[in-house]
Symmetry: C2
Subunit: 440 residues, 2 copies
Amino acid sequence: MRIAVIGGGAAGIGAAGAAKGIDPSAEVVVYTADTDVAYSPCGIPYVHGREIESFERLFLATKEQYVNTGIDVRYETTVTAIDPAAHQVTVAGHGEASYDRLIIAAGWNYAPVNVPGADLDGIYEVKYIRKAMEWDKRLDSCKSAVIVEAGLIALEMVAALVHRGIKVTVVDEASWPMADVIDPDIIEPVRQSWQDAGVDMQWGNRVTAFVGDGSVSSVATEQGDIEADLVIIGTHKVPNNPLAAAAGLKIGATGGLIVDSRMRTSDPDIYAAGDCTEIPHGLTNIPLQGLSGSHAYAQGKTAGTNAAGGRRDYRPVFVPWGLLAGEWMIGGVSFGETLATALGAKHVVGKAQGITRARYYPGVKPIIVKLVAEPGTLRLMGAQMVGGEGIKERADFLAMAVRVGLSVEELATMENVYSPAIGALNEPISVAAQNLLAAL
Amino acid sequence: MRIAVIGGGAAGIGAAGAAKGIDPSAEVVVYTADTDVAYSPCGIPYVHGREIESFERLFLATKEQYVNTGIDVRYETTVTAIDPAAHQVTVAGHGEASYDRLIIAAGWNYAPVNVPGADLDGIYEVKYIRKAMEWDKRLDSCKSAVIVEAGLIALEMVAALVHRGIKVTVVDEASWPMADVIDPDIIEPVRQSWQDAGVDMQWGNRVTAFVGDGSVSSVATEQGDIEADLVIIGTHKVPNNPLAAAAGLKIGATGGLIVDSRMRTSDPDIYAAGDCTEIPHGLTNIPLQGLSGSHAYAQGKTAGTNAAGGRRDYRPVFVPWGLLAGEWMIGGVSFGETLATALGAKHVVGKAQGITRARYYPGVKPIIVKLVAEPGTLRLMGAQMVGGEGIKERADFLAMAVRVGLSVEELATMENVYSPAIGALNEPISVAAQNLLAAL
């Protein structure tokens, strides 16, 4: 069995490993345009911010380790076409290669900023590790940066650039950071911390051009010019599917490949995984695109298992998410209030401000939990949180709570660990649920 | 309505506050033998260990604040008898006081160590804040301590005494710390840390006498004498129910008061809450006694609400627990392997060693998760964990998972947050579940 994988990120590597696990005799070839696989691109902002000492730390495995597992990784190799009927891919400079099963894990790109000057030097898309290494050196001499749209990468890069002593301006048409995902009250501590750090936030503004002679020197916006020797692209993820589209594979409304529960595309011998796919939201069935590396990896394992003749199903998602933005962790599950409202989903809300350890214990941090529930049944629909610790674990819990249909009544009566050094007397999830019930 | 409360701990204060909340006109009197209420006794070991700077930090509210809420707290006041028929309590030095509803929140005592010399000076039961203040000064001149039985308080006090430069010997008949609750593989990192810190651990040994002239100078054991100028009692909690027993209230096998779901005792006008009660385990219905301050507080609120004419139910418990023992957090839910085996409960086990953040992110800590499930249905029965962070939040999650009957299959496919600074690619709960399934 010949299994070809397009893409060497979490999804592609997960797929290749799973396929080899199911069928050790399979010939598994991974094509990647990147110079490396098996590194963590998610760590790049934290190396820029000097929280992590070097890019070398982001590598998870050496190239030899892949050779040893029998996975044939072709670096800096671009697939230029897929021919589903012939079961072939065209590899730039190498001609055709045939496959029995193909797994597309082609990932994503930043949504293009279609303004004049987009090809100037000095515009940085945080994505690939070798580029990041070059950029990291340049950051030392950068004085001022404009971040175009306050997406997820912006939330991480603002803190990094501030740490590096670079004057930061954020330009975004929305009214607060990551406005399509996060509620304004939840992001408020982050926005406040940016303000305290001297970040210039231009909400409701839009970039109209990048200006400069060879290299960017300023950014033109609807509300005036901003001096900048660095531009960070913070736009949302767009599935990287020109190849799949040209091959006639079915693509959904988000631009992601449509897959079934086994991560199979509209072609029975082609699977897909990661950011190039779209996955139904567990409550609404609305297709979602641009999930986390953890999702990509699990989807990859599913695709690889099935492609190699095994059986594994991937389920609709409830999307626990979280990240560190400076000193604040933010996170959530499924919907916040803003998204629920935008979707026209009727909902009730409960919120609590709590603490993460006993009030008197060193390292205690504030935490805000907001729960969104369905009126009547009071089933949990989603949650949003901001705090100093314990956000990821609570998001994992609440994602499961949404998945299995737990009601706010269950959460209001939940038991919780109380021990001064690790948890407070009152769990904020429970208090938020109690507050929701009390308000009805 | 006259509501009397015996005990000023988390249960008693929770009950008094809830009763006032339901019926602001109620006359609520709290009798406590202690000098203070509204402090956190759980914090005492950490002040001894100098993690917390002073005992003053443990106070949650001033005495005036209680006066202002209309709760009449009678400090250093002992109730010596309850007369259910007459609806009266006898208060030492003050005669009879009548009540319409009584709430017993009399707490617990350390199981007595019935050996000669138990009345010597130098034997410390960690419990009351004023005593702790006196003891804290004495610790400066203590050279060597014996901890009698490695219960929960021992797990916290070993680290505290080591921080204070005191030579520590632990004597316990069992084979590892907290052997009735914790599995040996889970406590192993703690045991190892004690060994590294030079703690003398005498497992399978028993104290036979405390020896000294007025003050303790050594501890006699079955395996020889141990020099010690300090003894810490680390025995398990025993419900403090002589009064309730004398009043003819029904007491269960654990020594705890039997209560219904509204925290009502066998007398319709007497409620009880906290460590003097016993509560059924949600899976087995086995009565449990000696839960956490968080449980006591929630039970108190239930008892107070119902005593004052409101309606609130308390549910069987699944007991998430956790604590910090030196550098390690340990915790769990419901059963571990050891307890499941002791109870004759058939079970299967899955275990995973993971990490709490990305491998390369500063502050990343190891974590071990062990899941115990029912054969066949694969419903989660319990869990045990040890790690550097995130134990309390996972225990809260898994307690809910046991309560609502989640299966290991659900946990094996759970989604998790992945973001380098706050969570690893693979969630150890999920990996433990996957390992359990793979082993079947």
